[in-house]
Structure formats: C-alpha cells, structure tokens
C-alpha cells in the first residue's frame, strides 16, 4: 500500500501503515495475536476458576447504575489515585497514555483495513503529535514509577522499612517502558527513510521520532530498513509479551481493579452485615479462608500493593505489626496456596468420582496467616478503605476475624473480656453502676423521656457522656446549649444503655445486638423519632446499624445540630475565645459519615478562634487510637497513637485541640499530658467551646482531663 506521489501535496500528509512490513507480516501478526490472546484468556480463565473456587456467596451486582458510576469515576477517571499526588500522576500518565496509544493503534488498524477518509492532512498531523505526547507521557510515567520504587523507596512500597518489591514489579515497568521506547525507535527509523528519502516534511510533527531519526545520519537506507524490521518485530513481541503476561502478573489489576471498583460496597460507609442467625448457625465470624465471602477473597487479589492504606494507618505508623496491605496480601498468598489444593482435590474427585477430599490447611488463618497482634491492632479508623483506589474492604474482614476469636474461640485480651462483662452487667464499658448514668444531668434539670416523652429530640448521651467526668462536662455543656436555644429534648436517664459500638468492633456481635435491641425497644417504646448523639460511635451505630434491628430514627451528631443552631441564629456566640485551634477529625464522624465541614463551621463561628489544620486532616485524618474497641485495650506495642496525633497538633502550633468525640477527647488529653504540654494546650469538645463563647451565666473553662 503506498500513497504514491499524491501524498506530498499539502493536505495529504500521512503515512503508510505497515510500512516496510510486507506480506506475510500481517497474517503472522494476526496469528501471534490470536495465540497471545488465547494465552491471556487462559490465564484469566485459570484465575476465574480460583476466584470462584471458595468463599461464601455475596451479591455485588445490584444497582448497576451506581456501579457504573463508580467504575467511571474511579476506573476511567482514576479519581482516588490522586489522593497521593506523585503516584496519582505517574499512574495517570501511564494509564491515560496507554489508553490513547491503544486508541491510536485502533485508528491505525482501522485505516489499514477499512481506510479512514480523514486519516491524512491536518487530522494526521494532530494525530501524530498526540501519539508522540502520550507516548512520552507513558515513558515519563514509567520513569517516575521506577524512580519512586527504586530510588525514592517510599515506606508504603514496603513493610516496616523493607521494600516489598517483587521481580514482577520490575518486569512490568520495564516491559511498558520497552514497548514505548521500541515504538519510538521504529518511528524514528521509518521517519529517517520517509523524511530523507520520500520527502515527508511533516514528520516534524512526530517530534520524538523525528529528533531520534537524526541519529542515523550517514547510515544506508537499506540498513535502516533492516533495523526497522528488527525493531518492528521486537516491538510487536514485547507487546505480545505484555498481553500474554497480563494475567500472570500484577498487570492483572487492569482487569481486577475495575471489577473491584464495580463490585464496591454500595452500603453506607463502614457498613457491617449483622449476624442474623445466632440460634441456628454453627460458626460465627471468619476463622478460616472459606468463611470469607468470594468478594472478600477477590478483594485480596485486586489489591495492587500500592500501600496507600498503610500510609495513614495509625496501627502501622505507630509501629504495630498491622499493615492493611500486608494483611490483605497475606490473605491473598494464603488463598493462592489453598485454592490450588482445593481445585486439585476437586479435579481428582471428578476423575475418580466421589466427594473431593480437601486436606485441612497447614496454616491457620488466625494465628499463622494473620497474627493476633495484627488483628487486634486495628482501630477501625477506615483510613485504609477510604483511601484505597480499588475499594478493597479491610475493616469488615478484620471484624469478621475478630468475631471468630471472640464468639467462637473466646480467646481475646483480658482487658476486653472485662469490658464486655462490664457492658453485659452494667451496660457501660467501665462497669460503673447503671443507676449512676443520669447523675450528670441532676444539677441542670434535664427531663427524662419517662418524665416527659413529648419532646422533639432524644439526646442519647452515651457512656462517656454519662460516666466519664470529662465526658459529663461535655454533656452538661451541650444540654445547656440546647436549653438556651430552646430546643425541645429529653434523655433516657438511667434507662439508657451502652450503644454497643465497642463490642461490635471488637467482634462481640452477640453482646452488641443485645445492647442495641435493648436501646431500640426502649426508644421505640417512647416513640422516639429524632436523636442527637455527642459521641460519633453511638451516632454511627444508631444511624447505620440500629435499622437492622428495627430502630429507624433520624440521627444527628451534635456538630450538625450546633452548626444549624449557629446558622439559624438560635444561639449567639458573643464572648471572644482567643485561641489557635485545630480540629481533630473523629474517624466515625469524618470518614464514616462525611461530617468534616460542620464542626469546622462551628469553630469558625466562635469569635476570636483562629483555625489551623494539622498535616493529616479530612479523609486523611489520623486516628486518635481509640476506635475499634482499642479504647479498652492496652497499647503495648510501638508508639502510642494518641501521642503521635498530639505531636501533629503540637507541630501545627495549636493551643486548643478541638474534638467532637469523647474518645478523641480522652486520647488527646492523655497525649497532652504525656507530652507535658498541659500548660500550653488543652483539648476541648466543640460543645464546650460554644458554650463558653455563649457566655451565659456560669460559663466556665473546662479543666484539662486527668490522664489517670
């Protein structure tokens, strides 16, 4: 196929597809393409067999519209990858570069087989330029990736200071780089001939190839044609290698990532499927791989080891053995080993007849694959899930494994056992007599629903707000604000029970449900419709989990109510509170419920308050260390998470660490004491700051909390 002399006319700029590749190049190419596609398809098929071999059923195909939306946002537009700039940029360079190049190749192929009426002239020139740019983009992306992985060596590409690079990581990057480089070389060789011999002056638009073509000056056209042929085949085989290698390498994420993004949980953030069959089930939680759902297992295969989860994991950063990445990868390795045995056994059984005899695993999921210190180090802060670009779900896995340790084996830390007993006997984690629950409200005269059920809101105080001296001050401040604003509300008084969040997150679903049901029965008995919580843990549980058990309420966090009261002018903040204030995001407000703005708005409305952000904030905020039942457990490995968070506040220069969660309040107050900063900074709940600024009657400065 030649364009003849016409091509040299202005407006006819173009080139010959399959230049210097005479028959039978094309059929050979097709043959090889067929072969490599078959290899790739076989690889995917094998993986498919593995994905479907074990795991409990779980439906992840409902709401296709939502799923496609997720796929477009995170698959096509790579939105979450940008939460880490460097990685986001290089990944996009490679991803979008490849995307365009493949599109270009498709255009080439179409031109070759069908002919494109517009594949010449201006279109061709812009097309050439585009291909050059995106080719370079991929190359730049590859270089950035190589530099990052092998020179910068960020901690997230490893575990505890040791890189976890595999041979495959290098192969993939080099392969992509080599495809692009050989592509440019082919182009430059062709241009050398086309430009110098055929007079294709417009080849300057293919600026990379054009620049490279100068290297060959002085070499004979025949030699260049020969070199072109060699390079052309090299390029083709590298591409074949890429396709064939795909399912056997980390390139598989080209398939698994979008699938996982499509299959992502559409439930509210942090959703946990409740155990519903206590009476009939024989096992609870996940004690072996097979007890995971297929999706939970597929997750681990979709994980690309990018390490974003680990990068802000409070357990990992405080030098505990848990890394969400390692946890998921360990499950994956275990799955790969295990599934091979299972498939082999099934195959044997199929050949011989009878039931497959599957030997028990030589490694226990709990203990060997996942170390117990890893399992219990998680604070359920959801940093990992919120920042995972492929929507791997770490936290539900951890909780389901904890469920096995607690409900089945009854093997867990004595501190937590004590906490559970206390929750069972006195409906609060400290085991303080339940009859003391409403003592905080005595002095300010808050009515209980038993005394007056005709109120708009139930103020669900929670255990910290009821029993902890520090938390009680927050409850008092908030109740006074509500009274001053004329909000109609009541409390449950001594009838209130623990929300159960710590039990659920610590794996004690049984205890959790009994606590939840008691509260729901009580609340429904009073006809409660709207609830305000000052504790994000209660807020999250009441809002998202109580509906499972017949508790359908409108649930608000006090930061939302305060923001509304201020915006509506129902409370007036008149006293200036001069303080440089940083707001510490509670995980259960922020990442779990997307409440980032309201508490900041509340603080900004306080006269005199100047705001400063800590380095880690919003979706990337750093946990205080108390979630996931960790509040009740000893922290004896590594650094204290609350001290680390306090350091971040100190670094920001804050005088006040404002919080909207009683657990955070305790943890930050302890951190301030540990760092001997009591004289210079304090931690306060936003309700205390607001009440202080309202400057009504006996408004008082809340003292720093005791650390012990």
């Amino acid at each position: 196929m030649t364009h003849g002399g016409d091509i040299l006319k202005v407006g006819n700029e173009g080139r010959e597809v399959f230049w210097n590749a005479p028959f039978p190049t094309e059929p050979i190419l097709f043959l090889f393409t067929a072969i490599v596609l078959a290899i790739a398809a076989y690889g995917v098929y094998l993986r498919w067999q593995m994905w479907t071999a074990i795991g409990k059923p779980e439906d992840r195909t409902d709401q296709p519209k939502e799923r496609i939306r997720s796929l477009i946002i995170n698959g096509l537009f790579q939105v979450r990858t940008f939460r880490e700039y460097y990685a986001g940029i290089f990944h996009s360079l490679i991803f979008f570069g490849f995307f365009v190049l493949i599109f270009g190749a498709a255009v080439d192929a179409t031109q070759f087989h069908i002919g494109l009426p517009f594949f010449h002239g201006k279109f061709y020139l812009w097309f050439s330029l585009l291909m050059e740019i995106f080719g370079l983009a991929v190359l730049a992306g590859v270089v950035m990736a190589l530099v990052r992985r092998y020179v910068l060596k960020p901690d997230l590409l490893g575990y505890q200071g040791k890189p976890d690079n595999t041979f495959d990581d290098a192969v993939v990057l080099i392969l992509i780089g080599a495809i692009i480089v050989t592509g440019f070389i082919i182009e430059s060789l062709r241009i050398y001939v086309n430009y110098n011999l055929d007079g294709y002056t417009w080849e300057v638009w293919s600026f990379v190839g054009f620049a490279l073509s100068h290297i060959y000056t002085g070499i004979s056209y025949d030699s260049v044609r020969m070199a072109h042929k060699v390079m052309w085949w090299t390029h083709s085989f590298l591409t074949f290698a890429f396709i064939a290698y795909l399912p056997w390498s980390r390139l598989m994420h080209i398939i698994t990532s979008p699938v996982n993004q499509y299959m992502k949980s559409l439930k509210p953030k942090g959703y946990l499927e409740p155990i519903r069959d206590f009476e009939t089930a024989e096992t609870f939680g996940v004690g072996k791989l097979e007890a995971f759902t297929w999706k939970q297992i597929f997750d681990s295969d979709a994980c690309t080891r990018c390490g974003r989860c680990q990068d802000g994991c409070p357990a990992y950063l405080s030098k505990k053995p848990l890394s969400p990445k390692k946890l998921v990868q360990d499950i994956k390795t275990h799955w790969e080993d295990r599934v091979k045995i299972v498939l082999a056994a099934r195959k044997l059984a199929k050949e011989k007849g009878g039931e497959p005899e599957i030997p028990p695993p030589d490694k226990a999921l709990l203990g060997d694959v996942i170390d117990m210190h890893e399992l219990w180090a998680c604070t359920n802060c959801m940093y990992c899930m919120e920042n995972c670009p492929v929507y791997v779900e770490h936290v539900p896995k951890i909780i389901s494994m904890r469920q096995c340790k607690v409900l089945m084996d009854a093997e867990f830390s004595p501190e937590l056992q004590l906490t559970y007993r206390n929750m069972e006997n006195n409906s609060n984690p400290w085991g303080i007599g339940g009859h003391l629950r409403a003592d905080w409200a005595k002095e300010i005269g808050v009515k209980t629903l038993a005394e007056d059920p005709n109120v708009e809101y139930l103020f669900y105080v929670g255990c910290s707000g009821s029993f902890d001296d520090r938390g009680k001050k927050v409850s008092v401040a908030f109740a006074k604000i509500l009274k001053a604003a004329g909000v109609s509300f009541g409390i449950l008084g001594t009838e209130e029970g623990c929300c159960g969040d710590s039990a659920m997150r610590g794996g004690n679903e049984y205890l959790y449900q009994s606590l939840a049901q008691a509260n729901i029965e009580l609340m429904n008995g009073y006809g409660v419709k709207k609830i305000i919580c000052t504790c994000p843990h209660g807020y999250n549980a009441l809002k998202k989990d109580y509906p499972h058990f017949g508790g359908n309420f409108e649930v608000y966090h006090h930061s939302e109510i305060l923001a509304d009261l201020i915006a509506g002018g129902r409370i007036r903040l008149k006293k200036a509170v001069s303080s440089l204030c940083t707001y510490h995001d509670s995980c259960f407000l922020g990442r779990y419920n997307d409440i980032y703005e309201q508490p900041r708005k509340v603080l900004s409305a306080v006269p005199g308050v100047r705001m400063v952000e800590m380095k880690r904030n919003l979706e990337k905020s750093f946990c205080c260390g108390a979630g996931g039942g960790r509040m009740w457990m000893e922290e004896d490995i590594g650094e204290r998470i609350n001290d680390m968070r306090t350091d971040q506040a100190i670094e920001a220069g804050a005088e006040t660490i404002a919080v909207a969660c009683p657990f955070c309040l305790t943890m930050m107050a302890d951190g301030i004491k540990d760092r001997a900063m009591e004289e210079k900074m304090k931690s306060l709940d936003i309700a205390e700051i607001v009440w202080d600024a309202m400057d009504l009657e006996e408004a008082q400065a809340a003292p720093a909390a005791p650390s012990e």
Binding site: W430, D469, W632, K673, D674, P703, P706, E708
Partner: protein
Amino acid sequence: MAKGVWMVAEQRDGALRKVSFEIASAARKLADELGDEVCAVVIGSGVEGLAPELGKYGVDKVYVADAPVFANYTTDAYAAAVAKVVKENDPAILLCAASVLGKDLSSRLAGTLATGLAADCTELKIADGKLIAVRPMYAGKCFGQVVTSSFPQMASLRPNVFPVKENAKAGAVVKFDAGVSDADVKAKTVEVQKDASGKMELTEADVIVSGGRGMKGPEGYAILEELAGLLRAAVGASRASVDAGWRPQSDQVGQTGKVVSPNLYIACGISGAIQHLAGMSSSKYIVAINKDAEAPIFAKADYGIVDDLFKVVPEVTKEVKKILS
C-alpha cells in the same frame, strides 16, 4: 442449758495474735451482761504459757490442747479439738477471729457443730439474753443483725474493730486431750512460706498503696514501698507511671490493668481518670494524696490530703509505725 461465753484464741508461732485480745475483751463485755464466765480455747504446740495473757483481758478459764499435731494450723485438727471441748461444755456463745485462719476454723466449726455463725462481725449486742451480731453485707452497702437460733451462737469478729480492754481475770488453765492424731488430718500444712519479699499480690491485698504520674520517677516509689511494707499492702501504679516505665505492667491498676477491691486504697499522685477509677472504685476506703485540689480522685476519696505527696507520705509512714509499735 447452754451457758458461758467462749472464744477461740488465735496464736501464731506460739504467740497470741492481737485479735485474740480483741475477742477476749468483747467476750468479757458480753459475759458481764449475761452474768457468765468467759472461757477461751487455745490450740497449738507449746502454747500452755499463753493462758495468763488471756486472763489479763478478762478470760476466766483457758482450755488448752497442747500437742505436736497442732504445731501448724490445720482445719481438721483444730476444728476437731475445738468441737470436742465445745460439745462437752455446751457454751451459749462461741466467738472466733475473722482472720484468714479464724474464718476457716469458725466456718468449719459451724458445720461440725451444726449451728449458725455470724461472720466478720463489727458489733455484738445482747438482747433478751440472745446474741445479736451486726455484720456488714454487700461489701458494706448494708448491715445485717444476725440472730442465731441454735447453740452455740457463733460469731467471728473482724480484726482491728473491737477495742482491747484490760480486765484481769483468773485465766485458769484447763488442759484437755483433744484426741486428735496425725491420721485425722487429711489436709496437712506441709509448708509455711514466710513472705520474705513482703510483696503482696495486688488482687489479693487488703490494702493497696498506689502511685501515679505524681511520683515523678521510679525512685519516688521507695516511700510507697516503705508504707506498704508496714501495712502489708501491695504497691499499685497508674497507667501513666507504667507507660513511663517506672513500674512493671503487672502493677497497673485500672480498666486495662488489674481490677482491685481492697479495704483501703491509698492513691498518691493519681489524678483519677475514669480508666483508673474503673479498676479501684469498689475499694472500701479510698485515700487520695495529691497536690492538685481539682484532681477528680478527690471526688471519689473518703479522705483526701491536698499537699505534696513527698511530704505527706513519709509522715503517714511515721504515724503508722507509731501505732504498730
């Protein structure tokens, strides 16, 4: 007709324990009201000489079973001996010590004698010729007045509660043969391990002296240990001081440490966060010594001293030494 106020005197290593004089004094008071005599039972090996001492506190007669089989306390031998002499003499009232061994002995005797026992009493009264024993129940959250319908009416007396009052009586020795041989002892004390270290287990201690962040460093604990030694107390610590590495984890009291409920908890330099309170708030008496008058521990304390613990604790130690000598 059952008659006489009897008591079991407790001796250790050939010496009467102070609680025995407390019981003797209490027994004397009851006997005077009833117009009865006080008889004591002393069991041991080489204990004959102890009788006159009991006489000093109002005991008329001392029944002594002195035999090698009684060298170490064993429930079997001691209970058999006391039961024998009690059965023979049919007293109206039988008092014992509510010490560790006294509790063991008295409750076994109640079983052997098939009678009622009011344990760990803090007050004894006579009404209509019957013994009314007042004793704390529900960890002191209420008191019960116990009346026993069978004889002897038994009561064990909490040590350090009843005043010791001298009231010289004859203290005449009546030796008796308990008829107990080694073969009767099925549960033998094979060894008495004296607590050389003086270190008490936190969870078992009746008194705990505990130090927190206010101890300023590991050296600070020396003054607590001295006081603890005198009071037979265990030394505890708050999470902050354990975290700081001043004390071992095993000393930690609190939600994530040990949960304790001693009779007396002395918190020094501990501010009293809820995590700590959860581990010790069921202590019967709480003492707080802290510089910070605002520390929440004072809200839970029965007695508080707002001052520098390094000044107060050594003075407390001095005072305790005085009363123990």
